[in-house]
Symmetry: C2
Subunit: 228 residues, 2 copies
């Protein structure tokens, strides 16, 4: 019997690639996505399509109103920063940072996994071509893994919780190359923080610029739709 | 200026007492409560009344559908265990355990605190007269505190995150005694896991039995309403 695992599936390029890697590694995958008041809610449609195409065991969408307390350009009424190229991206933690987002998401995924009898989580965080969010770093992931062993009934009973981060040390170009090898359909993924009404990407937010630069380096066209 | 802090307010006896202790310690308190599909949703009415009476800075209620994946007698369609006395309570982790609950709640509280510029959280967990949940133990709290420093922008920038657990080593009777000294109105609190349509406590679930035994030891009547 295959080992069960839970994937955090945002509907973006990274989580779609992580899904392909986890399946290749032989896991029986379920996924969890979040409707957390993000302005780029289009990513949930992508998440549903990706989960469906992959024929995942279970896919739950958890609603969680993080916009209730705001504090981020992704959930509050703040302007998403735009730039002309990836080289212009700030070195500081940007206002698209959503306080505690990955901690909340991993916690919920951990609870979901526990109900399935799983103690393996997959998350597509990346600490190379990323936006500088503190909760994407290896030391955060290690701390969460330690926490999981103490936080859960299964951990107390000896389950060996593992947070898999297969992308953490890859560049965006390496992620895309790996995904293309595994047959990921990047046309299904949504990356932009500030899409238009039809879900077309802006091409100028941090997330778009990192994605476009990755495809440029790989020498492939990005199949996502962009506003012209 | 008073130091800001965020309290996890369930509406139960422990969180109401924790509120009184945190205010006595001089914190400028905001609170977060959760509508997580719990069958004892009456506790949210209690949380609102307690927050209002205390005149808290902010009180947000976060909706989060943990019942989506079930796994607990508190959120799924399972029977809440009943007993005749506190002496009968199981030593094992009971089916009222909600996977990852405190991890999820603390994560959201951490995000809320970060938007307020706070790095102090108060939670009324207790490791003496409790139901044996893994996420009520001191080692879990310490692990979460370490995580908070790594998970947040403020932590990376040097904020000293602290998870205050003033009740963790108190018996239920000691908690009640402390609360009565501080003027807590326990008539406002809701403890029962399985109340009737009018919010009256069952008197026989783990939570009711621990509460009743606490009041008995203190030699006071419990002002909560019970089904006869």
């Amino acid at each position: 019997m295959k080992k069960k695992a839970v994937l955090l599936l945002s509907g973006g390029l990274d989580s779609a690639t992580t899904l392909a890697i986890a399946r290749k590694a032989g896991y029986d995958l379920s996924a969890v996505s979040f409707d957390y008041g993000q302005r780029h809610k289009f990513e949930l449609q992508s998440a549903r399509k990706i989960a469906e195409q992959a024929g995942l065991e279970k896919h739950v969408v958890i609603s969680l109103n993080l916009a209730e307390f705001g504090g981020s350009a992704l959930t509050a009424d703040l302007v998403v920063p735009k730039h002309d190229s990836a080289a212009e991206l700030d070195q500081e933690i940007p206002i698209t940072y959503v306080p505690a987002r990955n901690t909340v998401f991993l916690s919920v995924a951990m609870g979901f996994a526990e109900t399935l009898g799983a103690s393996d989580l997959f998350i597509g965080v990346n600490a190379v071509d990323y936006s500088g969010y503190p909760d994407c770093r290896p030391e955060f992931i290690q701390a969460f893994e330690s926490l999981a062993k103490l936080a859960t009934k299964s951990g107390v009973e000896g389950a060996d919780w593992k947070i898999h981060t297969p992308l953490i040390h890859l560049t965006k170009a390496e992620i895309i190359r790996r995904g293309l090898e595994l047959g990921v359909d990047y046309g299904l993924t949504h990356t932009c923080y500030d899409p238009d009404f039809a879900g077309r990407a802006c091409g100028h937010c941090d997330a778009c610029l990192l994605r476009l630069e990755g495809f440029r380096q790989v020498g492939q066209d990005d199949p996502a739709e962009y506003q012209v």
